[in-house]
């Protein structure tokens, strides 16, 4: 199985540290969520992973080979992002043909079906597409190239609600038909929360979390009840946030609970990735106490 490895990557633009000592490992056939707020460094990281820009330190490897100047490895990753790197004057069919020429093969069947489903005219010129259809076309390309790692940088940003639905469905379908790795980078967490199998949280250039979703969610505990009881119960535990609704208090704990007795007045359940993300990436007291 192939492995995509990011190793101690750091990057600054001028005086701004955008990425600081980022190390990640991506396995084959999983759906990763790369979550972060706007400006967290996600796009920069993806650009470095596809050799579009250079890191200041660190390296990116696929199967232990550096990707720089390495067609064989670079041909295993594809990045779809908002930047337009295709010639505006070319028709979509022409771009498809050129893409196929370079990748050696292309899933025309899927591309045609998707174009029809999304109502995209492949004879149009790339430069004349609306924002939404520009994204759709690039997404179609991303799903039809024979690569092992598909990187999607804010894939649904320009898409209307219907198209978003369709996109996620098609993503799952192609993932099932042709298992490969997807790395979805987004700040729209609720949409992808159930879709991803592994979650990575990037905040201000650092990795805050890098775990399988199942393990992460098992460690989320929302403790609800009267303030006193809740605070007593969570004393000494890793409380990363709280909510108040009148006299009812919710403490959000991330980590393992010990075997202390749960009072009758207090209820436990899990909370979702979206909430966890907000706490991890907020300048909230206690939010820096994360567990990895």
């Amino acid at each position: 199985m192939s492995v995509l490895e990011v190793s101690h990557v750091s990057k600054s633009f001028g005086s701004k540290n955008v990425l600081q000592d980022v190390s990640l490992t991506f396995d084959e056939n999983k759906i990763y969520g790369l979550l972060g707020r706007n400006g967290a460094g996600k796009s920069t990281l993806l650009n470095i992973m596809t050799n579009r820009i250079f890191a200041d330190t660190g390296e990116v490897k696929i199967d232990s080979e550096r990707i720089n100047d390495n067609d064989a490895k670079l041909g295993l990753i594809f990045l779809m992002s908002e930047v337009n790197l295709y010639p505006n004057g070319n028709t979509l069919n022409q771009i498809v043909a050129d893409t196929e020429l370079i990748y050696g093969s292309f899933n025309h069947q899927l591309a045609e079906r998707l174009a029809k489903e999304f109502d995209l005219d492949l004879t149009s010129k790339f430069g004349k597409l609306s924002t939404g259809y520009n994204s759709i076309f690039k997404l179609i390309l991303a799903l039809c190239v024979p690569v092992k790692f598909v990187l999607l940088d804010e894939p649904v940003l320009g898409l209307d609600a219907n198209h978003r639905e369709m996109f996620y469905s098609e993503l799952i379908q192609t993932y099932t038909d042709n298992p490969r790795t997807f790395i979805i980078s987004t700040h729209l967490i609720e949409e992808v929360a159930n879709l991803i199998s592994d979650v990575i949280v990037l905040d201000e250039g650092r990795i805050m979390l890098d775990q399988p979703v199942e393990d992460v969610l098992a460690k989320t505990h929302s403790v609800v009840g009267p303030q006193k009881d809740v605070d007593a119960y969570t004393k000494g535990l890793n409380v990363i946030g709280h909510d108040n609704m009148g006299t009812i208090r919710v403490n959000y704990v991330y980590g393992d609970l010990d075997d202390r007795r749960l009072p009758d007045t207090v209820q436990l359940s899990n909370f979702d990735l979206q909430k966890l993300f907000i706490f991890l990436t907020n300048q909230f007291e206690g939010s820096r106490h994360y567990e990895n």
């Binding site: 759906i31 799952i172 199998s197 979703v213 969610l217 009758d264 899990n270 909430k275």
Partner: protein
Amino acid sequence: MQFQFNSSEPIYRQVAEQIEDAIAAGGFEEGQQIPSTTEISKEFHINPATVLKGMNIVVAKNLIEKRRGLGMFVTNGAHQRIVSEKKNLFFENFVVSLVKEARSLDISESELLELIKRGYDK
């Protein structure tokens, strides 16, 4: 399909429970095909591996079975099995919290029994 997913427990468990509930309520009849992993994952944007994990729990309980090349089907006797399992868990799942709630509201045992009787009369 009327599935609802929330954040209170792992998705795979919710998938399993919702399939079981549907079988118990008669929504899926014995011998009937249930939606595939792919269909469920596409419909609700859930990772297929998660859906599969949930399905496997239900398979392990012998409530559904995989028929090669066809899909997942409700087994014979599944309805009976799930209803009896739910019966066994009824005490844990409902009675304990009912009593806890009643206690917190200062409802006595006899008052609670009265209320239960009233519920059956409806």
